[in-house]
């Protein structure tokens, strides 16, 4: 196939020989080596400075140019995981143009490098039964538009069977998209693997698009409660009680999770917030001067967790959130782990949640 494509390209290019002469060399980037070191490459004859930044690096690393205009650098072995990275070309951040694996995001320009482990990781494609991910449109009365969401259904799912499934509503971070939890977070493969091992209950995972524009954040709470949940419950055989509903989310989505979950404890018995960003009007309005009936709320919430990494730039803020909820006598379960405000951490947060909900 590669040969065929080369011929095809040659045919295309043959008519434009001036272009062909300028055509950049074919380069491979990133190259992940067996020892988990990685080589990055970028082509430019005119750039003055090219660096690579990645969540496996403490600081950007300079690439060096060879005589043909190919910039490259090999970074030392990294812990197997999926990492976002980007290049800076004369101070402009870009995704790696040689890598088709793009981070699904509306603001950042990043690529993804998948460093496989010596054995399977919790997010690896393994030889287990696979669920499927459906791309659906739903009408949002709240937002007055038709929007897309993703629905993971587990292996053996029968839409017309007698089994009623629980549902996890899983929200991405700010500027991410409805695809980030599958394309970067591998939520579907994590669920496949944990279900196969008997560590997670078969469940649906609904991944909506949380960026509500131009309306502010509270409208997404309404969209979730009034549009997304009713859409899912009208179209899938699911449990329609709070014990069958969980809500989780990361960063801005972690803040949305707290707002959605704690203001609707009759709807969601499981509230799992990952490194929440809470400096929002909605959060202040909901939780400043809030005097919940802690006894009642603790009975309604079967699980209330807040996860954060000690290197997360929101660590101090999240610790304050946890202390605030503890002051109000809520049975919040903190998960303080190593790591930063990253999707590597996110995958671990999700893997933990999937093993704890709907039990």
């Amino acid at each position: 196939m590669k040969r065929i494509l080369s011929i095809l390209l040659a045919v295309v290019v043959s008519g434009v020989s001036a272009v062909a002469q300028q055509r950049p060399p074919a380069i491979s980037s990133p190259d992940v080596h067996p020892d988990h070191s990685i080589t990055f490459r970028y082509f430019s004859r005119t750039a003055k400075q090219v660096t690579v930044s990645g969540e496996f690096l403490k600081a950007p690393v300079a690439m060096t140019k060879d005589t043909s205009g190919i910039w490259s650098v090999t970074v030392p072995p990294v812990k197997p995981d999926i990492y976002p990275y980007s290049f800076s070309v004369d101070s402009v951040q870009i995704a790696d143009p040689s890598n088709t694996y793009i981070f699904a995001n509306e603001r950042f320009r990043r690529s993804i490098v998948d460093v496989p482990g010596d054995g399977p990781l919790v997010h690896s494609l393994q030889n287990v039964p696979h669920g499927k991910v459906g791309y659906r449109y739903y009408k949002s009365g709240t937002l007055g538009t038709t929007r897309q969401l993703l629905v993971y259904t587990p292996p053996g799912f029968n839409p017309n069977g007698k089994t009623k499934y629980p549902v996890l509503y899983l929200i991405h971070g700010g500027s991410d998209t409805e695809e980030t939890w599958t394309k970067v977070g591998r939520a579907n493969l994590i669920a496949d693997n944990l279900i196969a091992q008997g560590k997670a209950k078969p469940m649906l995972i609904v991944m909506p698009y949380g960026n509500v524009r131009p309306a502010p954040m509270p409208d997404f709470t309404k969209d979730m409660v009034n549009d997304i949940v009713p859409f899912v419950e009208a179209n899938y055989p699911v449990l329609k009680e709070s014990n069958g509903r969980a809500v989780a989310g990361f960063s801005v989505g972690g803040g949305q999770t707290l707002n959605i979950g704690l203001t609707n404890p009759d709807m969601f018995a499981y509230v799992c917030s990952y490194a929440p960003y809470t400096a929002t009007d909605e959060f202040r309005r909901n939780f400043t001067d809030w005097s919940p009936d802690a006894g009642k709320l603790n009975r309604q919430l079967k699980l209330f967790t807040i996860s954060v990494g000690t290197e997360d730039f929101l660590f101090e803020s999240v610790k304050q959130n946890i202390a605030m909820f503890q002051d109000k006598k809520l049975a919040v379960k903190p998960y303080i782990v190593p790591g930063g405000h990253t999707w590597m951490n996110c995958k671990q947060y999700l893997a933990t949640t999937l093993q704890e909900i709907f039990r």
Copy 2:
């Protein structure tokens, strides 16, 4: 939300003020104007020449730089459609870094611009019932691996109902991916719209990944016949006879379509090839010195079409293919239309096919 994200970003960036000072300005690209003209923008202080190429342009158009380092150009109004485009920065082709809408492809670096019509187009998101697109894994015994494919199921689809649906197997072009037919070709929305208008029968559309590496092209025919079709027929309520199966594809996938369809007329009664690339060993082996029983084959094939645009770089080659099949007395139906080797044409080819198959 945008404000919240700005705050969030500001927090992130505040720790790295040197970076913040170099941070490029926020730019918007592409901007589609009400008159269907489009402004493209790119930021670089150091680039010497930036051009935009797109399938709405006869030749690349130079962008000009303002004093802040923002390059831009506005192109005159274009016919409403979805167009691939790219920038050339000092002769290096890149996708538009300000546009998150990336062409799903493993070789080209292109972005997509969607120029809406004054009324809905055949590929527009309209207020009609929507099918869904499922991402599935299947095991390929042929290729010895687990691969992904996409399955469109129509509105009202009931996986356990008595209705058995016909299936269109739809193959992307060389270096495209299994997502290109939905993300660039909008196959799901075209089907939604034509089904809603009663112009297409409700059907499944299966979009596999046709790039078989390192094995050569014939292995994809085996994968289709021995793995993909059996997987679909084991997992969906579909017709299991040739009258319920169609195969179509574009470019390299158009060549695969001819190889798969014409060598398996007992399996596929509908064979629709779009601008096929046929300069392959497999095609030569299958059709050089080929003496089909034309009467029998014409009875087996309820529809055999080959579509091509008069500006397609494969136009002469495709005309020769058509003449070759006509010489063999096959009832091939040629569709010669304006346009090039493009996904704009592809969408039209598919819209035509959907109205003709399974009738």
